[in-house]
């Protein structure tokens, strides 16, 4: 069954860890949780594919873990606080993983953060219908959701399929 569409699927570059992903990703997250124990980290490092067999992952999930494809892990139901434990097992910090997920070099990512982080302008909406802050946020700065700012962001626009369905749903929901 295809994934149910939600208003938040319109947010670019974001995999919301919702109930459906939690159900799908239970194995990934429990695998990551197991890495809290040193003996498990050693067993995993000794034979990664073998160790993963204990957790009922789908072939796609296993591949994502072995390749350390962090975005794919999130898409398939992993949660960042869990997958970060895999990162830690490899000796990487949250910031290191964040840089990887954005497709930037460590240096570029660190510089972007020092310069104030990724701007929300141009990064609000995949459909382009929510380019401005909602009523309770601060004033709009009025830049179109052009791909300009999405610079680092081949990244920030992962998939476009089914965007039509998302658009309409996002629109109606956002009126609440």
């Amino acid at each position: 069954m295809a994934r149910e569409q939600h208003d938040y699927d319109d947010i670019p570059g974001t995999f919301v860890f919702d109930q459906e992903r939690s159900r799908q990703g239970y194995g990934i997250n429990m695998f990551c949780m197991s890495l809290m124990a040193d003996e498990n980290r050693k067993a995993f490092k000794a034979d990664e594919a073998e160790y993963l067999k204990k957790f009922n992952l789908t072939p796609e999930q296993t591949e994502a873990v072995l390749k350390r494809d962090y975005n794919r892990m999130l898409e398939l139901g992993g949660n960042i606080y869990f997958t970060a434990k895999l990162g830690a097992t490899d000796g990487h910090s949250f910031r290191h993983l964040a840089a990887e997920m954005t497709g930037s070099t460590q240096e570029d990512y660190a510089n972007m953060m020092l310069a104030g982080g990724r701007s929300v302008e141009g990064n609000r909406s995949r459909s382009g219908r929510f380019d401005k802050p909602a009523r309770s946020a601060a004033k709009p700065a009025g830049k179109k959701a052009g791909k300009a700012k999405a610079g680092k962001a081949k990244a920030a626009k992962p998939k476009t399929k089914k965007s039509k369905a998302k658009k309409s749903k996002a629109k109606t929901r956002a009126k609440k």
Binding site: D7, Y8, I11, P12, G13, T14, F15, V16, F17, D18, Q19, S22, G25, N29, M30, C32, M33, M36, N71, L74, N79, Y81, F82, K85, A88, T89, S93, F94, R95, L97, A98, A99, M101, T102, G103, Y109, M113, L114, G116, G117, R118, S119, V120, N123, R124, F130, P133, A134, S136, A137, A138, K139, A153, A155, A156, K157, P158, R173, A174, K176
Partner: protein, 312 residues
Amino acid sequence: MARIIAGVASSHVPAIGAAIDNKQTEEAYWKRVFSGFEKSKEWMAETKPDVCIVVYNDHASAFSVEIVPTFALGCAAEFPPADEGWGPRPVPVVQGHPQLASHIAQSVILDEFDITVVNKMTVDHGLTVPMNLLFGSPKEWPCPVIPLAVNVVLYPPPTGHRCFMLGRAIRKAVEAYPEDLRVVIFGTGGMSHQISGPRAGLINSKFDKAFLDNLTKDPQKLARIPHLEYMREAGAEGIEMVMWLIMRGALDDRIDEVYRFYTVPASNTAVGHIILENRAKGAKSAKAAGKRKAAPKLKRAAARAKIERVRS
């Protein structure tokens, strides 16, 4: 009668804890962050609460995906620091306040907040980092702490409005507790940040500053912010800010902002911090009255100076 005297909000970035543990607080990058909490530590040392309630979230430490309680109130006598994958942080064991905690549990459940009672729990950086920022790194924490863990990891977290109303219910519970205790409540997490996916690194200072302003100006407005807006404007993980609304809901309508600090970044995150005081009600706690009156004015002046520096 127990009484909530003040609320504190603070980010709880794990890298801040690591900087403390690895003694990097004097490095320029970190000094910028820690210097913003110097005044706060003075305020806390002077305020000397009898108990703190710390609203925070667990990050796959005490709770995995096996059990995900929306609101979990720590009623145990103590809460050891969690091993988050590289050994427990070298911070003191948190001493609880089981009597007040169980009193709160009993009261808020009858007020229709069906919280989970937790009698065994470790606490991770979500709780211990704000403790460090406000209390420094003492051998023992100076007062008992009641942890209130909120799920903000698995979507959906409780709504901002629900959080605000839980704060109200906690205030009612505290005020019905017979012992004369002065309580400070912490809301932690935020501010804008996203650490997951291709949009990681998102920061929205405008959103954050409006949020800080509205904690005093219009908290009801904050309580109406939908989850979609937090995620879109303040990053997927920025939704943690709903926890600040429990703190705010537990305070009176009329409060004084005594201090504020905001800086970008700490690791992936915008660091926000604010101290809000309830206005004294006929100075119930006598020992407080005399000396504490004068202090806030000085601190407010200091706070303004700080804000200007931060904004410029």
